[in-house]
Amino acid sequence: MEISVDEQDLKLLLNDLIELYGYDFTDYSKASLVRRIKRLLTLDHFPSFAELRYRLKTDPDYLNRFVEEITVNVTEMFRDPDFYVALRQQVLPAIGSKPFIRIWHAGCSTGEEVYSMAILLHEAGLLHKSLLYATDLNPNVVERARQGIFPLAQMKDYSENYIAAGGKSDFSSYYTAQYNRVIFNEQLRTKMIFATHNLVSDSSFNEFQLILCRNVLIYFDKELQNKVFHLFDTSLDRLAYIALGSKETLKFSGLHGTYKQLGSNKIWRKEK
């Protein structure tokens, strides 16, 4: 039997998380958040919502599990290959003229997007003067991203994505396979900096030529999206780019007027 989650209870739980642990999920999309919590109630066999709240309050270790299961970490290399074609053709030539390139992957999950980007930069001859900052609120996924080890079984799909994204090399030259896993080349990884960063509560930490925040904002409500867009705005150089997920948009945000979309791609350039 499914346990219902009423609004008052949810508020209390979210307040506990802020007060005890500093995690603020208040302005996440309600429909999605409630669905994830109901799923966790079932997965971990809680007899009631109150028991979940009690567990979270009394067992700090369970917080890890909660964050891991409430957030969604689904990702892949060269996800939406057309997007990477647009980066290759329209964005890299423009930011490539800078003496130094800083890129921020906000909500990088386990890092597949960051490694894809490093490959793109390498192929454009820009990796040597680039730095990729990869952040996520979940320390577990950040650690996995840092290691750069991925299941071998996924390489076939990723290789197809890579080719569809305009890749011309042999994709397998970018990693070494060991048993059922692969590790990506050191040369790609030396250009990456990994850190935990919470888009809700942490501030801007640098200026970038490109920010990627893909499939993260769908989990936020419109007000929080707007707040994060302003965080990005203060972190972007003039004529720098912001890239969103394939079904996300800047059009509901206050920034809409000062950014120009690149055709139908989910990439916008800061004009002012």
Partner: protein
Amino acid sequence: MEKGKVNIKKLIVIGGSAGSLEVLLRVLPGLKVPFPYPVVIVLHRKQSNDNLLTELLSLKTKIKVKEIEDKDALVNGIIYLAPGNYHILFEEDYTFSLDDSERVNYSRPSIDVAFQSAADVFGGALTCILLSGANADGADGFLYVKERGGETIVQAPETAEVAYMPEQVIANKSADKICDIDGIANWLNRM
């Protein structure tokens, strides 16, 4: 946004899998224009990032067909199409949220997820329609919709290219009505 919310008296969500596109191509041309409610279509599809399906459906009706983007607001008289690779969820303010979490019934978008989320927000003002398919997606959703006072219509299995999906909701007794393809079109126009 509040204005839109007051204006929307009913929501229709249509789910389908194998063999359901043909049904839609037959039903859409007959729908009255303007159509008085929002219609949301959730299909299992192989290709995710193509506009082909939106274009194909657009050709069959004067009603505007739009692929859902995150936080789009529901508006009467628009047909919304769930994008490939995302679940669709409904917010209390009658906007959509997208979600790329695990597949449900091997599917993303999942029809169950869409039906259940729509029922949470629309309760008795929801009508769900389930079409042809080879998957059990939609069956739990139908039960959930019924429990919350919504209305459920299923394509008659003998008229479906693949009868399995309709048969599941007939077996779990969650379908209010069983209609052939013309019956579905008529029902929508009389709502």
